[in-house]
Subunit: 142 residues, 2 copies
């Protein structure tokens, strides 16, 4: 990783890491679809190329946004798990969904409706906490 940051603005610096077409898609698929393995990602709707996927997973590991694990009973599969740092991106994902839902329908007629988005908007913070807690229950070992 070479000179990573364009300037000292926090917003721009976040975009130096997650500002591309794929990084947040990968994280979204972890939070919302519980994707965990290389195969899970490479079979996703967005059809990410495996070389791009590979480079993004490496980058996310370097920034400790995800970590890489093995299950005790399988030496082949790698399991990618979001760290707290990665889970802290949940609000960004949710606000992107809300923005699309409310602003992109005229551009994208087949955009999927998001179930119960109104109730999510009414208490965004709790919804985000719930997503994070559920993710941890499913994926973090204690």
């Amino acid at each position: 990783m070479q000179n990573q940051f364009r300037c000292s603005c926090p917003c721009t610096s976040a975009l130096d890491i997650v500002g591309d077409k794929w990084t947040l898609v990968i994280i979204k698929d972890m939070i919302l679809l519980n994707n965990r393995t290389f195969k899970d990602f490479s079979e996703s709707d967005e059809a990410i190329a495996t070389n791009i996927l590979s480079s993004r997973l490496k980058m996310l590991l370097e920034y400790e946004i995800i970590r890489k694990e093995k299950l005790p009973d399988n030496k082949q599969k790698n399991i990618y798990i979001l760290t707290q740092k990665g889970l802290n991106l949940t609000p960004v994902i949710i606000d992107l969904i809300i923005w699309s839902d409310g602003n992109l329908r005229e551009n994208h007629s087949t955009l999927l409706p998001t179930a119960q988005l109104d109730s999510v908007k009414n208490d965004k913070e709790s919804f985000i906490s719930m997503l994070i807690e559920n993710y941890k229950k499913r994926n973090w070992k204690r």
Copy 2:
């Protein structure tokens, strides 16, 4: 604008538009620094190349995230103004700032502190509304 969207997922579709290193930087500089002219953007900290800036402004105009105006007393300057659709991205910008502030300091030692971020976090919705209303007061003609 060719085939614009990878799939029908709202999150991915938002990233098909704002998922790059520059688009949200431009919008951030409009909301937080009140950038309005081509020159304002090309002189920003991030030093965007003018060809990229030009292509992004065109794209944002096509999606009606911004509009282009003239001041009555100047035929040279173009003034770029966020529409409601563009202003609706404010939550995403704020989330990115909060994420950087809380999670990126170990990677980026000169990251700027954001004034009163604690109070922003305590009432994010009002802070966002305030930013949007202030922007409109400054830039929307009535």
